[in-house]
Symmetry: none
Subunit: 189 residues, 4 copies
DNA sequence: AATGAATGAGCCTTCATTCAT
DNA sequence: AATGAATGAAGGCTCATTCAT
């Protein structure tokens, strides 16, 4: 199996799932995008669902690695939190595949669903770790870190729904504004 | 057209669209849920898209009416904000339909799409009004009310994705916790 | 059964069958045209096919009566022929229902099909009678009256397919031109 | 795409559209006729309408090519006219497809409708050319070539409706008889 | 590695017709 | 005489998947 074609396949599938959603994207379209016939896809993937899984896997792995880097850095908890928020929004708005993550998870089944759920939990746990560190360091006031994490992620993940490239604020501005809101909601006073 | 059957139809459609999404719900399933044959649905609706529109219309109308009541009450802006957050979460977790509202809008076309978009904008504007009042009253510090509104709605609309009836927190507890986070993020210090 | 409603029904059905064809006209549309609900039609007719039959019956009966009047008049055969041609074209272009006759006959079945076929044969026979009289009178040269009749009817029945109300020729002009062509093709020299 | 199956498909579609009309022929029947399942048809065609278009296109192209050959031959106008009439009738009775051509055009839309209309106009124009040449050569007396062309085509296209293989006249006999009628209607005296 | 051909399952929709009221 | 409600049958079309080549 050509490594290069597989790469292409994942890139185009990511983009198409992102743009139209999993159900509304047909294998026909994906095949056409990479210049092969529909049945040839089955040399690279076992099923459409597996393709979704692969796309999600890659995307979340990237998110996790990048968040882990922040967590393991030696900044202060508040700085890490700000960094995490900025990065999440930037990834979401600049990199395709993220939306698929939030929206099409229900189309996975069985082990694959579990695997992605585990990966998503890892991300939540990393974020939560920052919150706990902040509390321990006396910088943050977070009575329920788990729920607070979900609060933050909800706010962050919605950004792609209203962001317009030609809008009033740039991506860094949005990222900064959100980081500020999160900080204010959490810092000890 | 039997009012009662229509009511049933809308309720079941709301629930199914909520649970599985518009595309993944077949008219067959909806028909079965209310105990009629698939073609009989066309006595009540003109198309599947119209059904989605009706479901969305009703839900958003309810949300708008209830938020308007808060806006027009004579509480302080901060009290209104807290009330609005609590109510939004309660509606979302106690009655189905909310998700459909925010996820399946792309499946509407033409005038129907516009109508729902307008209705959704009304809700955002109502919430934004509270923020502006808060700023004017010197209670809140909100540099960008529009983006802040979207921040809040993102956080709120995500709740249904992780809420479990048998979870650690009750609905009022979640609502209270969220109201607190929002308040802290926005109040002037 | 109200005689008046039945009349309305036939008129609207005639017009709609004419305009869109039998298959492309739904009972829904017919019912709407006369201001009743679809199932109410069944108080007036036994089936859609019967409705087609009634429409055709009326139309062909009218054609037959009018052609018979010409045949039984005491003009010369050539004059009758010219009259017949003019009248056929005029009826076709001015009166709805005629097209249905030529186009939708295949949708009839059983006895009704036979009945209409018989009526259409009567028309052909009447026209053929004129030809035979012309031959006997030494005015026309028609080796095969049956086939010649079909030649003429083919030419005549096609007129509705290309006639445009705002076209270059008026109905009487077309009728006159056609009568001329037929006369020239048949008269003994 | 197997050339052979495509050929079969077009042949059976032509025959069925001819026998029952476009609307009354289902893709199911066509698929069955060539021994495949209904959805498999979509390997060969994009829609039912496209199939109608292909059938019509082929047929009219054949008619046009053959009439053009006559027009461009170096016979006398009267001889060309006779040849054209004979050929039209022969094509019509020996190979299916002609009716579809003239009856089901309304079911085409957009560009396809225009294309077929243009092709049909080409045929009429070719026939008209013969008439004009005849007038210029002083052989024919045709005051209005356009309407006369439609007169002739009407007569000719009706033949398939009454022709029976076991009838009184053979195809060449009918063709000859029709050619005679047309000639007599048009020649200068 | 690739694909032409085919398909089973399913989808939304149309419509003539029935029937209890 | 009228109709609200319902439906069986059918239709065109989509699509993930299989398989022989």
């Amino acid at each position: 199996m050509s490594q290069e074609k597989m790469e292409q396949l994942l890139e185009h599938a990511t983009r198409l799932f992102q743009e139209r959603g999993f159900r509304a994207t047909s294998l026909e379209e994906i095949a056409e995008a990479i210049g092969i016939q529909k049945p040839s896809l089955y040399h690279y993937i076992a099923s459409k669902e597996e393709l979704l899984f692969l796309v999600m896997s890659r995307t979340i792995a990237d998110y996790n690695a990048k968040l882990r880097a922040i967590v393991e850095s030696d900044r202060s908890p508040v700085a890490k939190l700000e960094q995490a928020v900025r990065q999440h929004i930037t990834l979401q708005l600049e990199q395709p595949g993220t939306v698929t993550l939030f929206r099409d998870t229900p189309y996975l089944t069985g082990d694959r669903k579990e695997a992605i759920r585990r990966d998503l939990k890892v991300y939540r746990d990393l974020l939560q770790t920052i919150l706990r560190e902040g509390v321990e360091a006396g910088e943050l006031d977070v009575p329920d870190p788990a729920v607070t994490t979900l609060f933050i992620l909800g706010a962050l993940n919605f950004v792609h729904r209203w962001y317009r490239r030609d809008g009033r604020k740039t991506i860094p501005e949005i990222a900064g504004y959100y980081a500020d809101l999160v900080r204010r909601a959490l810092v000890r006073r």
